[in-house]
Symmetry: D2
Subunit: 447 residues, 4 copies
């Protein structure tokens, strides 16, 4: 476990005698932060933990990149559990496996690194800094795989701390502090918010926005979802984002369209909030507006084009030609070709793939979450990105509170994709009409 | 790992076929909660985690004692990590000890029980129920030692969740909601609050009260401290609690006396807040009232009498007689005897005990926390409890922000008890005057 | 307008020369406050109005009773409008009555006293002090009728400032600050709250409490109403106040009983909030619990006994004897006599009195407010006060949002008392059965 | 008082019999709103005041311009006090002038119009609508002088309701709801806010912004002030508004510069808040930052050019030529000419004008408010507006809490303009150097 330079550092510091206790301020930053961290995790951390944590955090934020990387390396390679104690607990478990020896082994395996991270969290801005630290670690993990133990511990702690039970759902509207609202502009990645005027429209009386917040990160939403209240299932993104909206129709909305959902903090990657958020927002909206009878997304299909392109013979035959044409001309498919495109997408999104489900990440998220594939819309998103991903096609996933559990089960266990009769009809037509003939792509890609 | 009855239960449920997925509502509560918990920790927990957690929590709260104990037993003995995976990780660590194998072993040793508890926390009132669960487990641990793995995991999680960084310091006063204030009355264990009138006096303008709160337990303080703003070091508890206080003197207070500090939730036993609380309250008070120049406790000495009683020859000689007399007559020591008692107490509280420090728990808390023993007061607390614990004597521990770290170090490392010149004088007198002659207790108990 | 002593005071002050501007601090309090008030209402008030107002308010609160009365006298007799300007405006209006001369006259008649009171309101605690000032003035008005102009102006301003549009309806429950809750205990005058435990029961989950608050009087409710959620029309106060209540029945409440409504501030006497409060609380409760179908009071009949006693022959005959007996024995009427008592009360409460309506103040309040007399209950309130006022009988007034306006109209215009079929039946029986024979009171008192 | 058409309307309605009580919904809007208003002010207003007020307000907001003007006309000409009662009170006062007859006359002169306006205030959005109503009335008053009685009453009520004692000072920063912040952008009239980025800079950590709010107008500031924290007296607006500011200097700010103060609601014209606001903000800033030692404005001199232009011979001579040149070339004065311009401005701003003070409205506001003229700065504001008003010159007024009252007195009583030694020096130089020779303007305009 000896990594050399850190031991030498300890030696250097020890030579200075008692100054070990109060870290000399003339140490180079890297030596200084390593010494402070050691103190923090030691018994000294008990008496002046918050002050020590403040010092480490402040210093960490000011490190240059190279020192920061060395410090992360130190965190990842030092702070392992006591080898003797761990070896003994491992041996005892192997000799006598059972609940108690397992529990003792877990205790011995709990790394001091986690305790250090927990104590760092006591300092001012601790939680935010640990999230940023994980963002850095994740970005460097590929080229610095030795950071893995640190990533494991950061993820473990953040997952525990950002437990659903500690999150607060807040409605976001025009009465929300600007310090929160500017985060929406910054984090919206699905359908860019072009500025404060656009934001204001998205928070208008026929819109809703909700986010999860954590008490330790007051102004920073972890995730937020934008909802449009409409009549009928919205099939295109344009009217929802249009700066000039018709004044509200006489009839009240019956459908809530979740048209954008964004995770905000890269350092919380892999820690899932979206599933809880959608379901809780459905409950909130039902309570506020009993007239709402349908809850659905209007979602992109970011994996569609890639899937098509990997097929043999893609872009041969009439649909292929049509797709190339509309892209070149920025025009639209004619109805016949549009139908073919929708059928193809229906097939893509309902593919079981031997129980693994469709390859589209957005589809996987919603299906795993208990939604069903409700409708495939064309034309729906004529933006360059929409064309690039799926030739302008978008999809509705429907959340039916009564059926979420059953759909989820079927998807997780058998890779079965729940879908509406309308989608089933698209699939039948495709099969019945001999899709192979209609499509440019040979039978090779059929499952 | 097979414990028999749970496996049989699983068999029973499996026979009912698909009903396994949706727990039949006619199952006996114990079988039902076990099945729900299994579901919660399984992949089903992903889709409907919050709903399942709600169901388990609600059912748990309604269990009779016997069923609850069986369920706790199940939690403690089931939900161990996967034996094969853990054995493999243990073997690999033993073969090649290092940061990465240790991290992998920690991952394999992380018990599903913790994941179950984390998912339970997602339900309504989850955190509060887990704290109550730990209270129950702690109460039963002595006679049911097999609950230890559950206790380990509960403590581990609660310690992580109740990290200082997630606690909120709130001032408590007469503008605080009654739902919080009634907790003060219920939890005050040092100097009983006799009712709302008494409480109101303790929140008056020459008093302060602060508590730590956790966002998931809104109305429940975790710990609170009561402070009196006075001139000079308060040496007796009576005037501080007196229902009829003189109107405030002309001169402003220069001293803050921490006269009562109470942990509120038994289920958080062993998770330390008091050290942080005192230090943060010192900062708050300094900011509010720059005129405050001294921060000290007025503390009981609950271990004093016990210590005296374990000595040979206790209660022989003049002091012993005097103590028995005042107890019988509810009278007071004369000055000479009072001085002897104070000297004895000074000895008790400054004993290094081979680096372990004095046996008094209150003293250990404050000394470990970086305070110094400032003054020994007699008479200070003539209540029956005060007499029973320490013949009415009380002690001031002083918090000097500048010296907290040094005092803490010296205490933790060498068991050195920081004390004031006044206490040093008591100790010198004792030695110089030949205490052995004055005291009823023979030299046998002197260190 | 010369009142003598004030002019002399002005002279005294003027002699001191420039010190007139900055009031000498060694003046007697009465002279000092009068001088400060003069300054406040002068142009000086513009530059340092808030500071001057603070000074006047602080001094006012510290005045002894005699000085305070002199100061109030000064306020009432000085600070009249400019006589020349007012006389001119009066003359012009008499010469040419019309909208514009009336408006000009109103401007000229607006007394500087009101401006002084408005400027006093700018100081710390100004509004609260003006309310207390009016309380004092009202208490002294009978023996000091010259205070009337001050009372007129105070009432005029407070009525304007405590406009419904500036009041905030707040729910009061166990999460309300103790500083507000203690006011409920202090102000509850209908059914005394015996302490914090009683209060807590009255704020339990099957109870509601609402109050009107004014932003300038944060902790002080102006008026509050206590509501019990029950099934069916509650006919007795005992079960509502019982410390030991049965756990809530299986069926949800369908009726909200307003069983106590209290004005809190004597200084706001004659400024009506109760009518608005009841109606707004009805709206709140309907929104929270759509299952509520009836909103009614359970009210005392404080004027009943007095009305009976003023009749000739009261307490002769069987009912009279029975009433005397139950009072002496603290027993209950038998059913026959109870029916007679209820009939008598029905007659009392429905009496038109030549369009003036019944003499009972509680009845007048609710009837004028648009309620109808719904039911007469016996036995309903066996407390000494209940017996003393109405031999233990209580009454329900029903608020039917659909009919409030019509009932109010009929009552205000013709003195018609809206009542239920059940009350109508009582009235018919009385007439049909020859009540004169049954009752102890001769025909003389029948209308 | 008969105005004809309203009486005919009443007749029409009366013919419809009982429908008079519940206003028929098919009436033309103008007749309908007049009838509703009559009801509101009648006894009916008691029972269903809030509902009636809602109806009037909603209808008022939807009226077309012509109907709205007729309705305002009706409000101004009807709703005068009862002529008989007023005449009698006027007569009695003339016969016997005194505090009590004056008070009685004030009561009789209080117009039902005010009561109507007070009752309108009970409806949803009442206060905001009354403010808008006054804005309309003020705009039309010139061509419709008969609206004066309505304006008198609106102003009287709003002045009373927007009493300083009811206003709340709030700090405005980036945590303030966007709904408030957008008002700053809309209302800033002194130095335009160019968008959200500019706004954010103005709320940065070296800036402060405070506003007065009224509880009935939650999101609408009545007035707000923008403050820059700087070192030394800021002499030019450019650096304060510059999008790119140097990072904060090492030394903390010692001066607070009030560089923009804006009234927000035209309907509150003539109701003064600015004087209170500045003084209270000075107190807030002193409490937050004890290091601040100077509080001053950086103000325009909007009346300077106009004053110069009205003089004979303006724009002859060297300064006149220089001013014309810099305006044509958008260049700057050379130091010598700059000094002449500052001297001229010093003279303008210190002119007593026979006790009336200088003609500049900004100067009058601050001088009346107790500030002193501290410094005249050139070049200070090179914007087109700055050039147009004062050739780019700006002024500091200093607020010295110790001297506010004395300065105010001297200004109000004698028109004396308090000014700094630096300004005095400018004045002396001007006199000493024979300004008449230096200046383009002949002696005619010298006082």
């Amino acid at each position: 476990m000896a990594t050399g330079w850190f031991e030498r550092l300890l030696g250097t510091i020890a030579e200075r005698g008692r100054s070990w206790i109060r870290i000399p301020t003339d140490l180079p930053p890297l030596e200084r932060i390593c010494a402070l961290a050691r103190n923090l995790v030691s018994e000294k951390g008990e008496a002046s933990g918050a002050a020590l944590a403040d010092a480490v955090l402040e210093l960490y934020r000011s490190l240059d990149e190279a020192s920061r990387d060395r410090f992360l390396e130190t965190l990842a390679t030092e702070y392992a559990p006591d080898p003797a104690r761990l070896a003994e607990a491992a041996g005892r478990y192997l000799a006598e496996p059972g609940a108690e020896t397992a529990s003792a082994l877990a205790g011995a395996a709990d790394p001091p690194r986690q305790e250090l991270l927990r104590r760092l969290n006591m300092g001012r801005g601790g939680t935010a800094t640990l999230i940023e630290m994980r963002e850095t670690v994740l970005a460097r993990l590929h080229e610095a795989p030795s950071l893995l133990p640190l990533e494991n511990d950061l993820k473990h702690l953040l997952m525990s701390w950002f437990n659903r039970g500690f999150l607060e759902l807040r409605r976001i509207d025009w009465h929300t502090p600007a310090a929160v609202l500017e985060k929406l502009i910054a984090y919206e990645a699905v359908h860019e918010i072009t500025g404060w005027d656009d934001l204001r429209r998205r928070l208008d009386s026929d819109r809703r926005c909700f986010g999860f917040f954590h008490p330790a990160l007051d102004d920073d939403p972890l995730i937020f979802v934008e909802v449009a209240l409409v009549r009928g299932l919205a099939g295109a993104i344009g009217p929802l984002l249009d700066p000039v909206r018709p004044s509200r129709p006489g009839k009240p909305a019956d459908t809530a369209i979740f048209y954008s959902i964004n995770n905000c903090l890269d350092g919380l990657r892999g820690i899932s909030f979206g599933n809880f958020l959608i379901k809780q927002v459905v409950e909130e909206l039902k309570a506020e507006m009993p007239g709402l009878r349908r809850f659905a997304t209007l979602s992109p299909v970011p994996g569609f084009r890639r899937w098509v392109e990997t097929r043999d013979g893609a872009f041969e035959g009439p649909l292929g030609e049509a797709l190339e044409q509309i892209e070149a001309e920025a025009s639209e498919l004619d109805p016949d070709m549009a139908l073919r495109l929708k059928r193809l997408c229906a097939e893509f999104l309902t593919a079981s793939n031997e129980g693994r489900g469709p390859a589209d990440p957005v589809a996987r998220f919603h299906l795993r979450n208990g939604a069903r594939l409700e409708r495939i819309n064309y034309p729906a998103n004529p933006s360059p990105r929409g064309i690039a991903e799926s030739w302008g096609l978008m999809v509705n996933y429907l959340y039916d509170p009564e059926k979420i559990e059953a759909y989820h089960e079927a998807f997780v266990r058998q890779g079965e994709v729940a879908h509406s009769p309308e989608v089933a009809q698209l699939l039948r037509e495709e099969a019945g009409l001999g899709v192979a003939n209609l499509l440019p792509f040979g039978a090779t890609w059929r499952h």
